[in-house]
């Protein structure tokens, strides 16, 4: 999972230099690649989805990545994002963190119930996403990838004072977490992109 502040840090690290043209792009960040309108494998390739229009995949990273997680965005991570979690194993966290970090995102456990997974997502936003307020809007059963999953709707206020809204659909299959999470600015962007997200979730299948 990438959050806005990672990009801020990446930009901050770049030393000033006289650039010809616009921004050298020399942050070491590989940038974005195009996701076309056809079925594509995501994350560790154990899940496939079909987007209804082109999206941008956040490709590669300066930071150690979680192989099971892949992120897409339409307008940039400040405004919207869809994250795919594919087969996250017991004992792994959604983000890279060190054992000695004071504040940590809880690790996924195979025996987690939906409320625990939702709570893990909430802590993810509070610990890593800069959320100062987080509210659950609803949690309902929802079939996902041919099994009993659940849907988690939430809202949060972040430290950049922007309100964001999100939806996660998830299931634990063979002890591993599969999830598609959508998060976007509550003003305009969430509603504008929700249909895309729903289409992607409906198209999702295990491969």
């Amino acid at each position: 999972m990438r959050f806005k502040q990672l990009l801020i840090l990446a930009a901050a690290v770049s030393l000033p230099a006289c650039a010809s043209g616009v921004g050298g792009g020399s942050f070491g960040y590989s940038g974005y690649s195009l996701v076309r309108v056809k079925e594509v494998r995501v994350g560790n390739d154990s899940m496939a989805v079909t987007p209804p229009r082109e999206w941008n995949k956040i490709a590669g990273s300066l930071f150690v990545d979680i192989h099971a997680v892949e992120d897409w965005t339409q307008n940039g991570p400040y405004l919207d994002g869809i994250s795919f979690v594919t087969g996250l194993k017991d004992g792994k966290a959604l983000v890279y963190q060190r054992r000695r970090d004071d504040r940590q995102v809880p690790k996924f456990r195979s025996n987690m119930t939906p409320p625990e997974i939702a709570a893990m997502i909430e802590s993810l936003f509070r610990v890593r996403g800069g959320a100062v307020d987080f509210k659950t809007l609803s949690m309902t059963p929802r079939p996902f990838l041919g099994t009993n999953g659940f849907q988690f709707d939430y809202e949060h206020l972040d430290s950049d004072e922007v309100r964001r809204k999100g939806r996660a659909v998830a299931a634990v299959i063979n002890g591993r977490l599969y999830m598609i999470l959508f998060d976007a600015a509550r003003s305009h962007y969430y509603n504008a992109l929700l249909p895309d997200y729903e289409a992607i979730v409906h198209s999702a299948r295990l491969v």
Binding site: A10, R109, R126, G129, T136, D158
Partner: protein, 408 residues
């Protein structure tokens, strides 16, 4: 957080040097009776450079007051205003107070007399005297014109490292995860070097703070207690992460190492007590004032999953008596830490079971109690717990899911 790639790390060497240059040899204790206010009521900037700083601060206050990160509960704000009135000295009527919903232990006084208090501070203070002590300390920075003095002091330094320290202090930050104005202030505790006081200024604020506290009838020992609590929290936090307490915790950027200061504070506190006068910590009216907010304060803290810090805070609050709320959050701490080797899930289950025995257990305690029972295979008991949850919280957002869990 990936600190290696933060600006703090890049400028770390410079910052280290800056810290050294800002520090100094141990000084004689500053006497509270020497600390007189340097400003009076209705104070306004006079000198050119101070005016510039004020104008900037007015913009800052405009932004702060318009922020949606503020807690605007009128009773609470009015309560805090009363405290400022008690310990604000001559500027008591001029000072403004803003309460921000940010789970950090910090309070920041700006050179124009407005202060931002972070909700993490309210969580940690045990009584009104402790909170008033922090306000008195911050107010003293204003009354002694520390900010402009520090500003001018920084200007004199041609040392390149002072700039680097500014850069590191401002943009490096503690965890660096927050990007908003207010939150940056909380974590950094500095506004450039304006608020990055050196030991002398800190000692002045301590001495004056203690005096303001005692004058208002508060127990002046409260200030040293606050520091003891913070150190205890940091120690336990580090212990649970199996490491040494970090020396560069953000609070220490603005308030350098407390050992000598605590000793001085204790002596000063004894000094300012007048024989025959009664001093109080005013715990019950403080607990009353904060009663409505405390659940969300605990929630904000515990969900950060810093188990040592959260446990310390819960234990500190529990010194005034355990209740359902505190037992519940103790359960939450273990559930979030989730260490299998330490049997955290079992401890969490026990915590929730203990919580629901109290009448004030929050509805969520019943839901989590049910989840734990379900995971232990005690389905009938789980169903009962879930039913209780739904009864207490009929409009719960996760009702549909809980009903499914009840159905098995």
């Amino acid at each position: 957080m990936n600190a290696t790639l933060s600006r703090r790390a890049l400028l770390g060497a410079g910052a280290g040097l800056a810290a050294a240059s800002i520090g100094g040899a141990a000084e004689a204790r500053i006497l509270p009776r020497d600390m007189v206010p340097l400003i009076g009521p209705g104070y306004r900037a006079v000198d050119q450079d101070e005016k510039g700083m004020w104008q900037l601060m007015e913009r800052v206050e405009e932004e702060v007051s318009g922020s949606n990160l503020l807690i605007k509960d009128p009773q609470l704000v009015s309560y805090l205003g009363t405290l400022i009135g008690n310990v604000g000295g001559p500027a008591a009527k001029d000072m403004r107070i803003y309460l921000a919903r940010i789970p950090e232990f910090n309070a920041v006084m700006f050179p124009t007399g407005f202060t931002v208090i972070f909700s993490g501070l309210l969580l940690r203070m045990r009584n009104e005297a402790q909170l008033a002590g922090v306000i008195a300390h911050e107010g003293a920075h204003f009354l002694r014109k520390h900010q402009i003095r520090q500003w001018r002091d920084m200007r004199r330094k041609t040392d390149i490292f002072s700039f680097l320290a500014m850069g590191a202090g401002v943009a490096g930050g503690a965890a660096g995860i927050y990007a908003g104005d207010l939150v940056q202030l909380a974590q950094l505790g500095t506004l450039l070097s304006l608020l990055k006081y050196n030991r002398t200024l800190e000692a002045e604020a301590d001495a004056m703070g203690v005096r303001l506290l005692a004058d208002a009838g508060y127990d002046p020992m409260a200030m040293s207690e606050t520091w003891q609590q913070l150190i205890g929290e940091l120690d336990l936090s580090a212990k649970y992460r199996r490491k040494r307490r970090r020396r560069d915790f953000n609070i220490f950027e603005t308030h350098p190492s407390p050992d000598a200061r605590m000793a001085d504070l204790k002596i000063s506190a004894a000094e300012v007590r007048q024989p025959g006068r009664v001093y109080d910590a005013y715990r019950s009216r403080y607990l009353n004032a904060l009663a409505g907010l405390r659940p969300s304060l605990l929630d904000d803290q515990v969900k950060l999953n810093d188990p040592g810090a959260s446990q310390y805070i819960v234990n500190t609050l529990a010194k005034d008596g355990w209740n359902g709320l505190l037992r519940f959050y103790e359960g939450e701490i273990w559930r979030l830490r989730g260490s299998q080797s330490k049997g955290d899930e079992l401890r969490a289950a026990q915590g929730y079971a203990a919580a629901v025995a109290y009448p004030d257990a929050p509805p969520d305690a019943w839901r989590w109690h049910g989840v734990m029972l379900l995971k232990q295979g005690r389905s009938a008991e789980a169903r009962a717990a879930f039913a209780r949850y739904l009864q207490l919280s009929p409009n719960a957002p996760d009702a549909a899911l809980v009903r499914q869990m009840m159905a098995g």
